[in-house]
């Protein structure tokens, strides 16, 4: 009999069952899809980092040949040697002497580490008016070893290996030929480097794996490449040390900065991404699972309440407790198991495409996704055990009551305190107002489900809204403010050639240290034509006339510096105390602006005020430069990332509203069922449908709005934490913020959760019978 009853209830509560199934599916799906996609990246990534000896830290070194180093060189003529690149191109052996000397200094002074020089060259060229950048990394011997995933390592001077993503995006296959700077290379394979899981070059936060690639040549090929050589050091700890303290203590005259891998965006962001992705997946799945548990508990207690009489009769007839319990456990099984299995199936199915999104951003080897017994247990077996356990507890509690009590429920339970539940600030409100609030908060579990569900939805909506166009805000906002379209980088020691196009002369000086922060210093003239500075939209370019620096908003967030602070700017052995004059509206990395003359004097020991190493222009440059950066192209390159980010944000917004609507529908359905008798009574007395709707449904509108306003400060707090974390860990600033339009849209979307749910709830309300409910009235 109970089996039949249980099945009947299944059909009777079909809408609730479907809504619950949606929640259960979502919970299992989110967990499975995140876990499988992340683990497909995580395992091979960790293995790859270990096998190919990823650096533990990197050392930004002065690329000038130091005066003391000239003494150890055996070259007769060193007039044309200024940089390590000059030396490298002139004499590899002498170059090795300087590098070995620096490494020896390092390893002698600082024990428990192993150091290797990382040699790199960049080539920038245009394909169909789009700039492509190749970063060639010389094959390392001890640290950051190259990994060829397909094909073979280049052996000959005209052989090359590329990242697979770049190759595929540009229709290049192994065996194809490509031409770079008039030289033709044969592609021999696809390569990975453990120190570049993100292809980020320079200071711009631009990730576009279709136009930027890492490349490996044979040693001979690398040596022949006629580009400027950049040298950094890669380091590995050979013994356990306090890493943060260790790198803080490093002080050598050629060392500009030392950064741990986990704090280096290009190599360490993946750790946070994988951990964060997994944690986010588990957290969201857990929140949804908690909601599912609430719903199951509410439904089971509702059903048990309806079945009290039948259970009493069975007990009176001599049925054993387990015989009575079994059908209800079967009911829970039917409620949850299909949803969990469907969620698992779709999660497993969609893990591959999600993993491919990661692969489109991170350059990492990945494994194919295979099923894991642990994931199956956590996503299906564990929730089933929890739900069945919970159901068993609720049923057992009821079965402890004697049959007579079950068969003859009291009309009104002796719990007056429960009935007095009132909201303090509504004490003086009119009867219907008090009633409608009372109906909402009376059942704490249902109310909690409502709060958790709507809060989660609102939080995700607001976070998603803040993420819309975030790449544009981070990268493009600044570029849209300036008139510079082209940046020509001159050879730092040969200087800039003649330039006929109207331009500003600028100094760009990377790797300047301010406290522990590695910053890019830009020397600008206050009367420059193409690069105005702004603070909160107001032109502050003339601040460059004053003594001091203008820092970017990104730098202000990273360092905590404020206007009026004094800091020491150091570059190698040069030091300069400067005041912070203003904060420029720019989120791009750690960057500051200073008067060009002042910077020139600083760099030339007061000898020259006219030094510059780059030109900014609005029109295309005509001179001869080391390379020219096209800002429009830069902005276009960030578009792919921006579009991907926006699509994900919109998907998250729609999913959040969906979660909110599902929860709201469940809540309204469960509460309309719970207040069946009261609703009938209101109808019989003569209350109109509209009045009843006001009492039983519309009050959720107010609470939905309230949850929105409660969630806003919480969300802003989380923005602050995320911004602080990312800026302190990676020196990267995401301007997570909400404008008045975002608040308006967020509020609209939040309220849409209510308004989408109302018609369905109203339909259920109108279906309530007038006279049937009043036959057996129980409270």
């Amino acid at each position: 009999m109970l089996f039949k009853n249980v099945l009947r209830d299944f059909r009777k509560r079909l809408i609730q069952v479907i809504l619950l199934a949606v929640i259960v599916i979502l919970s299992s799906f989110v967990y499975v899809v995140m876990t499988y996609s992340v683990s497909a990246m995580k395992g091979p990534t960790e293995e790859y980092f270990e096998d190919y000896r990823q650096e533990d830290f990197n050392v930004i070194i002065n690329n000038q040949v130091l005066e003391t180093e000239f003494e150890i060189l055996s070259l007769e003529n060193t007039n044309n040697i200024n940089t390590l690149s000059d030396l490298y191109h002139l004499d590899h052996e002498e170059f090795s002497v300087v590098i070995s000397n620096r490494i020896n200094q390092f390893e002698n002074l600082y024990e428990k580490v192993e150091i290797e020089a990382r040699l790199q060259k960049d080539i920038i060229f245009e394909v169909d008016d789009i700039q492509h950048t190749f970063r060639f990394l010389k094959d390392a011997v001890r640290i950051n070893l190259s990994y060829i995933s397909e094909g073979i390592k280049p052996v000959l001077a005209n052989e090359i290996a590329l990242t697979k993503y770049y190759a595929e995006a540009n229709n290049i296959s192994i065996g194809d030929s490509i031409t770079l700077e008039d030289k033709t290379y044969s592609v021999t394979g696809y390569v990975f480097f453990p120190d570049y899981s993100l292809i980020i070059f320079g200071n711009e936060f631009i990730i576009n794996n279709k136009t930027r690639t890492l490349a490996l040549l044979s040693d001979e090929g690398f040596n022949e490449l006629d580009s400027n050589l950049e040298v950094v050091f890669a380091g590995i700890f050979t013994e356990e040390v306090n890493r943060s303290q260790y790198i803080k203590d490093i002080s050598l005259d050629y060392v500009l900065s030392v950064n741990l891998t986990e704090n280096t965006m290009r190599s360490g962001a993946i750790y946070e991404e994988l951990a964060g992705g997994e944690a986010m997946g588990v957290l969201i799945a857990l929140i949804i699972a908690v909601m599912a548990v609430f719903v199951v508990a509410l439904m089971i207690s509702r059903i048990l309440n309806d079945h009290k009489g039948a259970i009493g009769i069975l007990k009176a007839l001599g049925y054993k407790n387990y015989e009575v319990t079994l059908p209800y456990l079967l009911f829970i099984l039917l409620l949850a198991l299909p949803g969990l299995l469907i969620g698992y199936f779709f999660g497993y199915l969609l893990a591959e495409p999600l993993k491919n999104i990661y692969v489109g951003i991170y350059i990492l080897p990945n494994a194919s996704i295979s099923q894991d017994i642990n994931v199956f247990v956590i996503s299906i077996v564990l929730p089933m055990i929890i739900l069945l356990g919970l159901g068993y507890i609720v049923i057992s509690k009821l079965l402890k009551k004697p049959p007579v009590e079950l068969m003859n429920p009291k009309v009104i339970k002796d719990k007056p305190s429960k009935f007095k539940l009132e909201i303090p600030f509504l004490k003086k409100a009119n009867l219907l107002t008090r009633l409608k609030h009372n109906y909402i908060i009376r059942n704490l579990m249902r109310f909690s489900l409502f709060l958790v569900g709507v809060f989660t939805a609102v939080f995700l909506i607001l976070v998603s809204l803040s993420m819309v166009d975030i790449f544009d805000k981070t990268v493009n906002y600044h570029y849209n403010q300036i008139d510079t379209n082209y940046i020509g980088y001159c050879d730092p020691y040969l200087g800039c050639g003649e330039e006929n196009v109207s331009h500003d002369s600028v100094i760009e000086l990377p790797n300047v240290m301010i406290d522990d922060n590695n910053v890019l210093v830009v020397g600008l003239d206050s009367d420059n034509l193409y690069y105005p500075l702004f603070e909160k939209g107001e032109d502050i370019t003339n601040k460059l006339d004053e003594e001091g620096i203008v820092i970017t908003k990104g730098m202000a967030l990273t360092t905590g510096l404020e206007v009026g602070d004094t800091v020491t700017m150091s570059y190698g052995t040069y030091e300069l105390d400067v005041n912070v004059l203003a904060v420029q509206d720019e989120y791009i990395t750690n960057k500051l602006y200073i008067n060009r003359e002042a910077l020139s004097l600083f760099l030339t020991d007061g000898i020259s005020a006219d030094y510059y190493n780059a030109v900014y222009a609005e029109s295309e440059l005509s001179g001869d430069y080391q390379y020219v950066l096209n800002i429009d192209d830069l902005v276009a390159q960030s578009k792919d990332m921006s579009n991907l980010g926006n699509v994900m944000s919109y998907v998250l917004i729609v999913s959040s509203v969906f979660i909110g609507v599902v929860v709201m529908l469940l809540i309204s359905s469960l509460s309309l069922e719970a207040y069946f008798y009261d609703i009938s009574l209101f109808k019989v007395i003569g209350y109109t449908d509209k009045e009843i709707q006001t009492v039983f449904i519309n009050s959720y509108r107010l609470y939905t709005a309230l949850v929105f306003f409660i969630t806003v400060p919480f969300t802003l707090g989380s923005f602050y934490l995320i911004t602080w974390y990312l800026s302190s860990q990676f020196g990267m600033v995401f301007p997570m913020s909400l404008g008045w339009l975002d608040y308006l849209i967020g509020f609209g979307l939040t309220m849409s959760i209510f308004y989408i749910s109302v018609p369905l709830a109203k339909r259920k309300l109108n279906k309530h019978s007038l006279q049937q409910a009043l036959k057996i009235y129980e409270v």
Binding site: L431, Y677, G686, T688, D689, E691, L774, I776, Y777
Partner: protein, 233 residues
């Protein structure tokens, strides 16, 4: 004349089975009358009350209340009609447990055009001193008095009572019946009371006896008996 039923039937369809819960009922009820509808279980009493009061619609026939054909009203119009003209009392009192006695009465008061004063109603049903108590703190008889006050406060023309003493003991039940009788006289409210207790029929102006969905007899009481004097069965 207040209520007129013409050839009213109510048929419930359950799969292949058809149940005639009301079978061609013709009846007239006058203003201010105290009517008792009597019959065994399954005789159609509850269906009679539901259809007559507009809680349910007849399958065929016409029902007029004050010249208004309620059997042709849609749900919205029926709600308005109930709100302005009818009061209901149920066997299980049907009070809202979160509200005090006074607040339960206020529920009826709020939707009436010209309601009685709530305190006056509390005094009329003799529970003024209980007005701040919650249903759980009151006896069954007291709860039924609150229920009566809630129905009467909006000055209904007709009061429908479905087994109002069904859950009460003799003494309390008689008290409730006495109260209904007094209110019938005091406010000239038409009362239609359904019961399976034949003793109650002695209090009525007319007794409508039902069986198998039909009105089998209408008995007019020349002399009504007080509630206190009826022998409880």
């Amino acid at each position: 004349m207040l209520i007129k039923m013409k050839n009213v039937s109510k048929i419930y369809q359950n799969g292949d089975f058809e149940t005639k819960a009301l079978n061609q009922v013709d009846l007239t009820i006058n203003r201010g009358e105290f009517i008792v509808v009597l019959g065994p279980s399954g005789s159609g009493k509850s269906t009679f009350l539901n259809v007559l009061s507009g809680l349910d619609t007849p399958t065929e026939g016409e029902i007029f209340i004050d010249e208004k054909e309620i059997s042709k009203l849609n749900q919205k119009e029926l709600t308005k009609f109930r709100r302005e003209n009818l009061g209901f009392i149920f066997q299980q009192y049907n009070l809202l447990s979160t509200l005090t006695a006074r607040e339960n009465i206020e529920l009826g008061y709020k939707i009436a055009k010209e309601p009685f004063d709530i305190d006056e109603m509390l005094k009329s049903v003799e529970i003024f001193d209980q007005k701040s108590k919650f249903p759980s703190q009151m006896s069954g008889g007291q709860q039924q008095r609150v229920s009566i006050a809630r129905a009467l406060v909006k000055k209904p023309k007709i009061l429908f009572c479905d087994e109002p003493t069904g859950a009460l003991d003799e003494k309390t039940g008689k008290g409730i019946l006495d109260l209904l009788s007094q209110l019938n006289k005091k406010y000239q409210t038409t009362i239609v009371l359904i019961t399976h207790n034949p003793a109650i029929s002695l209090m009525a102006d007319r007794v409508i006896k039902m069986n198998s969905g039909r009105v089998v007899d209408i008995q007019v009481n020349q002399e009504k008996v007080n509630a206190a004097d009826i022998s409880w069965s």
